[in-house]
């Protein structure tokens, strides 16, 4: 029979694309500014170091999923750290993902307000974004996985092309001398900031129930981080070499400013910045749907376990007004940036601790086996 998608299973490629999109959904737009404000010209070094950390975390989560006997994150947590703590852990990780989505939607709504929809109220643009993401999530995890595959193919090549086009005519000597800014007083803050690059990895943990047994989650996570890092690194480097760290720290969205310096004589679009905004829009909708879906899946499984009710659509619908209200709750752009910085650091740390805890328990389990 011809039917709607019913199962939750993702393919390995879908997992990779989903993680990549989540990683670059917001990172390239806010991450460079955050690092540059602390580390100046050497910000890109921390971004590079952070990539290694993210790779390690992705491998840790991936192997945890692949080696676990449990079929979803709730079971995995419950068996490892007990039901009560498991419930809170699932809520914590889901909250991190949903918070990321809220920040993304709000940031993009502000960008729209400044560039494209000057007269449209913010609540309306946030509402449209929330509803469109909600619609996709309601269609099921399989549909979300397929959307992420198509969006990956549709957006990543253009994103890469823009970076290459701008990178060709850039003098990378502006990055020299390397390491000058990395003084001891900065290192502590820089290390903290480097957690900012965690974006997306927690989704791998949440997507565990959607990952079929045949999918190698380690490989998918590893590939996704490499893809994302390949794209995020240039977005940190390019604004530094084009504008310099001082000028860059005055910009609201350095990547958009980089895009506005691109010119295609005779091209159909006069201002490339709009292309980048459209690209960003696509990335936000796709990565938002992935984060939303992953969180809703985990929360609904938690509820199913408590109440034995199939609650996914209810959870999905209940989250939408929360996202809409939260996205409007920030006072201004500065508040959003502060929230991003806090969320990135705390979220990243929380995910790292959770994974470390799960691994420690697993290690003890293995050791205690006869």
């Amino acid at each position: 029979m011809i039917r709607r998608t019913e199962t939750d299973t993702l393919t390995g490629h879908q997992l990779t694309t989903a993680l990549t999109l989540v990683s670059i959904g917001i990172g390239p737009y806010l991450y460079p500014l955050l690092l540059v404000k602390v580390l100046g010209r050497d910000a890109w070094l921390m971004a590079l170091g952070n990539t290694v950390m993210v790779v390690l975390l992705a491998i840790a989560i991936g192997s945890l999923i692949n080696n676990a006997r449990e079929k979803d994150i709730v079971e995995l947590y419950t068996s490892r750290i007990g039901r009560l703590v498991a419930g809170w852990a699932v809520i914590l990780v889901s909250t991190i993902a949903i918070s990321g989505l809220v920040i993304m939607i709000r940031v993009f709504a502000d960008v729209l307000l400044l560039t494209q929809l000057l007269r449209t109220p913010r609540w309306a643009t946030i509402g449209v974004m929330t509803i469109s993401i909600l619609y996709i999530v309601l269609l099921g995890s399989k549909a979300v996985g397929r959307v992420s595959e198509v969006m990956f193919l549709a957006t990543i090549p253009i994103f890469a092309l823009i970076i290459i086009a701008r990178g060709i005519s850039t003098d990378f000597a502006n990055l020299l001398p390397i390491g000058e800014q990395l003084r001891s007083e900065h290192t502590r803050i820089a290390l903290l900031c480097s957690f900012c690059g965690y974006r997306g990895v927690e989704v791998l943990l949440l997507l565990a129930p959607a990952v079929g047994r045949q999918v190698n989650a380690v490989k998918a996570g590893y590939k996704a981080v490499i893809y994302a890092a390949t794209l995020v690194l240039p977005t940190v480097i390019l604004p530094i070499v084009i504008f310099g760290p001082e000028m860059m720290s005055l910009s609201s969205f350095p990547l958009l400013d980089v895009a506005s310096t691109l010119r295609f004589p005779g091209g159909p679009v006069e201002r490339m910045v709009f292309v980048v905004i459209m690209l960003w829009h696509g990335l936000i909708l796709a990565s938002g749907a992935i984060q939303y879906s992953a969180s809703a899946n985990a929360l609904s499984r938690l509820l199913d376990r408590i109440s034995d009710i199939k609650s996914r659509p209810a959870v999905v619908l209940a989250l939408a007004p929360i996202i809409w209200v939260l996205a409007q709750s920030f006072r201004n752009m500065v508040a959003v940036r502060e929230a991003f910085a806090t969320w990135s650091s705390l979220g990243g740390t929380a995910v790292a601790i959770t994974v470390a805890l799960l691994w420690a328990i697993r290690w003890m389990e293995v050791r205690s086996r006869p």
Partner: protein, 495 residues
């Protein structure tokens, strides 16, 4: 004693003979049913009745294959009570079957067979005498091809099956026919290649057909909608074609064809959005030309769906995106037009839809006149009256051209519908709305499945091999295209 027994038996059979005819007359109480009665055999001692529907049979076959041989025969009474199957030796008709129950007899007579009852034998002989007037094999109407085969399916099941068989001379080509529909009892055939079609796909379709509970099945769409379940989608979830060559190629890919008697189209399953946009012509050209044509069609579809929305978004919401000189030129053409761009677009698009519908319903010479009057005169008058701008005429014309590049007639309707949704959102939210509507369309397409196969296959789930071999791209024949194993087979877990 023996003579009395024979007489009793004879009396019983005769009573049964009369009773059966009476019963059939009751069941087939219609003026077009013919009961041809005659005497035959030794001393004209036996009676026979041939029952058929006037207009559904070839009377020459009845004369030459049933009545003539019976009249010439010397059948004697000692054969009384013998099974009617013995008549098969006397009648040279191509296909005969024996039916014992009257329900079968009545159904088969209504399908064009002739029922032969004789007074000395029990049972009824059904002789295949089908021979109604039908349309000859003509050129395809919905999928024209310049280099490709010029034959198309007709409304006759057997003709359609023969058109497929002529192309695939293989023992593994299987045809399973069953009646579907309580009132129509239409013959529906499932056609597949045993060694190519995934077994679970064939089983799924067979099960679905056997569970199909409908009063009438007159056309392939009845089946498609019943199989789709409780959903209404503008996108066709099975492919319909009137081309036997395309059907044969699909069967060779492992797809399953559903042929409905009375329908000039064959339903192919599963269908994906890319398979729906692949034309028969693509395989009659070189690979390079085929890829060019497919890319062209893709551009056509994008223009058709997003063209009016994009124009309205750029003109009324995001003017700053386009080059200043172009923006000024557009503003110049719109000068004096009292309505916003989206009203302009809507007016012209609805006008175009009306023209298309009118042209489809009218006889061809009048349709041409209507198109000229509508397209040229009304369009020109609208521009002169400052109702629409010249550039909007260009946009709508491009949209129309783009729509008709779609290979699948059913799919082109879906694109036409989506275009309005895109236009509505873009009119208020500009490029942001355009992208949002594109994203929702993508999500919707991603949620669709045709018989368990993703509608977006082989893009999502991604199968690079299939994508490279035959999707938007097309490999040359020498690279093994004929041995293509489509991506959707993996989705059905079929080796």
């Amino acid at each position: 004693m023996a003579g009395e027994a024979v007489g009793e038996v004879a009396g019983g059979v005769l009573r049964s003979f009369n009773a059966r005819i009476q019963k059939i007359k009751e069941l087939l109480d219609s003026s077009d049913i013919v009961f041809r009665t005659f005497r035959f055999g030794y001393n004209q001692a036996l009676r026979a009745v041939v029952i058929f529907v006037d207009g559904l049979v070839d009377k020459e076959i009845i004369e030459e294959s049933i009545i003539g041989p019976l009249l010439r025969s010397e059948l004697r009474k000692p054969l009384l009570g013998s099974p009617i199957a013995r008549l098969e030796d006397i009648l040279p008709a191509a296909q005969t079957t024996v039916a014992d129950d009257l329900e079968t007899v009545v159904t088969e007579v209504l399908r064009g067979q002739s029922a032969v009852l004789i007074s000395c034998a029990s049972g009824t002989l059904l002789v295949d005498t089908k021979g109604w007037k039908d349309r000859s094999v003509e050129q395809p109407n919905t999928e024209l091809s310049i280099l490709g085969a010029q034959d198309s399916f007709t409304e006759t099941l057997l003709v359609n099956l023969s058109l497929i068989r002529r192309r695939i001379v293989s023992r593994s080509l299987k045809v399973v026919t069953r009646p579907v529909g309580r009132q129509t009892s239409s013959q529906v055939s499932i056609v597949y290649l045993e060694d190519k079609a995934p077994k679970n796909l064939v089983r799924r379709i067979q099960e679905a057909l056997s569970q199909l509970d409908a009063d009438a099945v007159l056309e392939g769409q009845y089946i498609i909608e019943q199989l789709e379940g409780r959903r209404v989608s503008p996108f066709p979830l099975a492919q319909r074609t009137d081309r036997p060559d395309k059907t044969a190629a699909s069967l060779l890919e492992g797809r399953v064809a559903i042929v409905v008697d009375g329908a000039p189209h064959v339903v192919l399953a599963p269908a994906t959005i890319l398979s729906l946009e692949q034309g028969a012509e693509d395989y009659y050209h070189s690979a390079a030309v085929a890829v060019f044509l497919r890319v062209l069609r893709l551009i056509g579809v994008i223009v058709a769906v997003f063209g009016p929305g994009l124009y309205v978004a750029l003109v009324s919401v995001n003017v700053e995106v386009i080059p200043t000189s172009l923006a000024l030129a557009i503003a110049g053409t719109r000068e004096g037009i009292p309505y916003p761009a989206y009203i302009e677009a809507l007016f012209l698009l609805v006008l175009l839809e009306l023209l298309i519908e009118a042209a489809l319903r009218l006889p061809r010479p009048i349709a041409t006149t209507v198109t000229i009057v509508g397209g040229l005169i009304i369009g020109d008058a609208a521009v002169r009256a400052n109702l629409v701008s010249e550039i909007m005429i260009i946009v709508v014309a491009l949209t129309a051209i783009g729509t008709f590049t779609s290979v699948s007639y059913s799919l082109s309707y879906a694109w036409r519908l989506w275009k309005y949704a895109v236009l509505a959102v873009s009119a208020f939210l500009g490029l942001f709305g355009l992208l949002t509507s594109a994203f929702i369309l993508l999500g919707y397409l991603a949620s669709l499945e045709s018989f368990g196969v993703s509608y977006l296959s082989p893009i999502a789930p991604l199968n690079l091999k299939s994508l490279w071999r035959d999707s938007i791209l097309r490999q040359p024949w020498w690279a093994g295209l004929s041995e293509t194993n489509p991506a959707w087979r993996d989705e059905l877990n079929d080796p």
